[in-house]
Assembly symmetry: C2
Homo-oligomer: 333 residues x 2
């Protein structure tokens, strides 16, 4: 295992020290609870957005904390759900009097722990809480850690778009409805060329022969649909585009496309892949209005990529274009 780390069991704690040092005045960290939050939290009168999950997917979630996106992110251990205590602490930190939205990826532990935190908040007379669950991965119906589809790339889009709605001063029900609409309107599919290696395990999560790839991989290395010989970018693009566009009609609407690197795939390859994806989408009559190409929801040092397509509309595009100021996404601010 070759990684730029100190103690494999301290990776998350050490990374939080680093992200706090890198963005002083913008981000602050509650190290006891491993919560990264806006330095100016809570923002009075604004719905507070909390997300989180296992670490190892950076910039998701901590790198998406800032004006126009999340108010706080809970960092679980690598590939491990954050505890109810963490979510509770984060929700208290961001409570500006307008309620709190929890953005949760569909994994059994995450769902359970965010729900428990919402109950604890209710019991202590805390702010009203709404939650949205992302479950956009078309690869498999149920999986290792999931009842129903896994939540993957659309989470980035939910955090951005709901964050913009909250920044406009909309109420909790409205922000939650926007978030749910995004979650419902996006689909994803991924491919791995290599496994990732969890630091505390010290060896690859799974074996993938030198001449094979895994189609439909999860962001924790969960099994996908099938393995096949390593294909060309054009072939791989087809393996991603077809199941996504078969699952959801994306014609006749502006689409937001996220071509995401899994952590160890360089941008040069993502550009090659995007060229193939764009060609296939055009042939299928899908009109891409906005693109994001890069590393946004990673899987440690896995090589590979995922494609997320969102059926948007003018309202969602406007929220997408609104200013955002986070380490991972920043524009107009």
């Amino acid at each position: 295992m070759k990684k730029l780390i100190n103690d494999p069991d301290q990776v998350v704690a050490d990374a939080l020290v680093g992200i706090e040092a890198a963005y002083p005045g913008r981000l602050a960290v509650d190290h006891a609870h491993r919560v990264v939050h806006r330095a100016d939290a809570p923002v009075r009168g604004k719905v507070g957005l909390v997300s989180g999950g296992g670490s190892g997917h950076e910039p998701l979630h901590a790198g998406f904390v800032g004006p126009g996106m999340l108010d706080a992110a809970c960092a679980g251990e690598v590939f491990t759900s954050p505890t109810p205590d963490q979510v509770l602490a984060a929700s208290r930190i961001v409570d500006g009097g307008a309620g709190v939205l929890h953005i949760v990826k569909n994994y059994t532990g995450d769902i359970m722990n965010f729900e428990m935190a919402a109950e604890l908040l209710g019991a202590e007379g805390g702010p009203p809480v709404a939650s949205v669950v992302t479950a956009d991965d078309v690869a498999v119906q149920d999986s290792l850690y999931t009842a129903g589809r896994r939540g993957v790339g659309v989470t980035v889009l939910v955090e951005k778009i709901a964050g913009a709605a909250a920044a406009q001063g909309r109420g909790l029900a409205d922000v939650a409805a926007v978030a749910a609409r995004v979650a419902d309107s996006g689909r994803s599919m991924g491919v791995a060329l290599t496994s990732c290696t969890v630091p505390s395990a010290g060896r690859p999560t799974f074996d993938l022969p030198e001449d094979e790839m895994e189609i439909g991989i999860g962001i924790h290395g969960e099994p996908g649909r099938f393995r096949r010989p390593l294909g060309s970018a054009a072939e791989i693009a087809e393996q991603l585009v077809v199941p996504v566009t078969d699952d959801l009609d994306l014609t006749g609407a502006p689409v937001i496309a996220l071509l995401n690197g899994m952590g160890a795939t360089p941008l040069l390859e993502l550009y090659v892949m995007y060229g193939e994806v764009a060609r296939l989408l055009e042939a299928r009559g899908v009109g891409v209005a906005r693109t994001l190409v890069g590393n946004y929801i990673t899987s440690l040092d896995m090589a590979g990529c995922s494609l997320t397509l969102l059926r948007a509309d003018d309202e969602l595009l406007g929220l997408w274009d609104a200013p955002v100021d986070t380490p991972g996404l920043r524009w107009g601010a």
Copy 2:
């Protein structure tokens, strides 16, 4: 070799198709010359900024084309200098009547070909050309492809800051002077945990045993200072910070810090590294005013990172903070 590509010999051409598809209306590509340029080039009355070099370092350079940064980037073959013809074509495209600045990394082929292009431009009565050479890598004095120090991470900072100066409408001599000041005021040092693999070669550029790292690596896999057993993030940070801060006094001035991933290193590890770098800099009395943590000047699929520190001042910070709108760097716009 596991890569998301089609034909290994068509990687650059395919990537240019992809980047053009990903940023319609913002970037355009002269495919015959492999020049990526602002879709609205030339900008009348503005100094045109041209850079370029071998491909494989994305987002550098094509990903830094846009308002507030480069007007055009020439994409050479992987790790191969662009030809004089490419630089000539790019310079013509961006000529808005106020002259052209060439930003060149210090590699023998790059220097020669940019110079030749400048001569050809002069011979055809083209715009006045100034050029700035980056040579910020403190690792080695001369190297495989270089007389003098290699140009690495400071190139990103030169492109951003000179781009902002040009966007303010400053004249060629002034923009060139700002660029030179940045180039002179930055130093870098890198480390590799793995080799990169050039697509057309199909095998790693060099062998690095599983338990070793190479300190002072170049961005093409050129040999560094020495190899040693893989260290902790804290030890590696010291190997980067000490030679950089020994080479240039960074105390008493606001510093811009770029902690750059080499392509296959995930952000989680870069955050861990930045925590260690920040601790060492604070102990040495270096005050970091701005940070950039992520993949900005990569080396294909190399695992590792580099640290670039720039001794800035109020003028350079102001130019750094100015709006920029490129695929790789974007804020305030």
